[in-house]
Amino acid sequence: MHWLLDPLQFDFIVRALVAAVIVGIVCSVLGTYVVLRGMAFFGDALAHTVLPGIAIAYLIGWPLALGALVFGLLTALGIGVLTEQANLKEDTAIGVIFAGLFALGVALLSTSNNYTVDLAHFLFGNLLGVSKGDLWVIGLLGAIVLATLFLFYKELLVISFDQVLAVTLRLPSRFLRYLLLILIAVTVVTALQVVGIALMLAMFVTPAATASLLTRRLPNMMLVSALIGSFSGVAGLYASYYLNIASGAAVVLVASIIFILVFLFAPGQGFIWRHKNKTINR
């Protein structure tokens, strides 16, 4: 058991573990909606568009999370408005905003002396650099996201499953759609330090996709997704400690390996199971 406890003598590792678990849970629970509603591209775009916010906050010495939050919320609203216009296809509109703002972020950061190191931190996370203050921000924003998902559970389920039902029930569909975009933006901010911008999409999609292969009801899917997400955070951090690999990448790799295993071996829905049954039925 030494190998489990050894790393915990360092405070920065304990903080990193707590952050990884919180982010693993929040990303994976929200990720169930990202997967079910086919919003993966939204998630990736929102993750990338916070970069200029981070860059500005960094250059003028404000908290990075604040800059990211402001830009994340603005682009969530911007994407929402753009996709309501019929004259541009949704993914085209998102692509334009996504690439443009990301380029702005890179351009701003390139004015700093420490350009490559900083950019790498923002792109791939800096899990071992999580401070106490960061932890508070991550915990608070994570709690807000989970509480909102809980409060609007019924309504979000309806708009995700059947939009016509949402209209005939006269639910505020537009508000709920924007709410999801805003929640994704807020979650992006919490996950910045753990996996970084470039790998964020994996935290939204991979645990939830894995859970969808194992469960048949949304609450169970959320629970399993959260377990996989938080386990990936912890296991990834240990892998990073002992194998000396980048922490964000390690977290995502663990989640990906779990997905592959489940995809192959899941009872009932797994690749091998179906293949085996097919040959037996023949």
């Binding site: 389920l157 309806v158 029930l169 006269r170 009801r217």
Partner: protein, 267 residues
């Protein structure tokens, strides 16, 4: 239907369940790009559906049957004209229920039969609240009424086509519908499954639920419905089946573009 004291907007006495007055729907409203020769998905549509009436909507493919149903739900907006439900705009009512075509639903979605029917209760439960015992009773009663109680715990992808339709009708019952819209619910179903759906619809008459069903099947439209609405972009005929399903009317609706334009000229 269930004595629950749930508040929909008051229904003005003496008004029909549904009334359309000169309603026109542009192609752009339904997201279609075939805008060159015909500009309207539906043009100048007027008809009334009285309380408890069961009406079949028939017409060729692309005639606007689905558009008409979606128009009534409110998901597509008319370009001009007026829609009234019990004398008021439909946006003030949440007692419309829509049973979608089966290919419009993601059957792998992680919800059980029970979950789907409970969705119909969303409004009655209200924001920030959880299902009460009452709601669970209504879900059970609704499932029982369509003969699907034993399916409650199944994931929706595990159902047969007929069962899927019955579950969506149960959802309509759970939301205490007064206007049930069904889009091609019978296509692909075997005869016993079709019969099961007609039995449920027959039982809705006593509750005063008005039913509009888009269908391809002219025989069923003639035999099982009070009225038939024959459409092809506009209303060709509306009334009792024997009045509507005449050779002349059917030629006008189905006979191809030549007859169509002749009819338009002589009209």
């Amino acid at each position: 239907m269930f004595p629950l004291g749930y508040q929909d907007t008051d229904h003005k006495p003496g008004t029909p369940t549904l009334e359309l007055k000169h309603v026109t729907v542009a192609y752009s409203a339904i997201g279609s790009s075939f805008a060159q020769d015909v500009h309207y998905a539906l043009k100048d549509v007027s008809f009334k559906a009285e309380i408890g009436e069961q009406i079949a909507i028939i017409g060729p493919n692309g005639a606007g049957k689905s558009s008409l149903l979606k128009l009534i739900t409110g998901i597509i907006k008319p370009e001009s004209g007026q829609i009234l439900m019990f004398g008021q705009p439909p946006s003030q009512h949440n007692c419309i229920a829509y049973v979608p075509q089966r290919n419009q639903i993601d059957w792998s979605f992680p919800v059980t039969v029970e979950d789907v029917v409970m969705m119909g209760r969303t409004r009655q439960i209200g924001f920030f609240r959880r299902a009460r015992p009452l709601d669970k009773d209504v879900v059970k009663a609704s499932l029982k009424r369509v003969g699907a109680l034993e399916l409650a715990k199944k994931q929706i992808g595990e159902l047969s086509g007929g069962q899927q339709q019955r579950v969506f009708i149960a959802r309509a019952l759970a939301l205490e519908t007064h206007l049930l819209l069904l889009d091609e619910p019978l296509s692909g179903l075997d005869l016993p499954s079709q019969e099961a759906i007609f039995e449920i619809l027959a039982s809705l008459r006593q509750d005063g639920v008005t039913v509009l069903m888009a269908t391809h099947d002219l025989n069923l439209a003639a035999e099982r419905f009070d009225k038939v609405l024959l459409v092809n972009k506009r209303i060709i005929a509306f009334g009792k089946p024997e009045e509507v399903l005449t050779t002349e009317n059917l030629l006008a609706a189905y006979g191809g573009k030549a007859q169509n334009s002749q009819m338009a000229v002589s009209a």
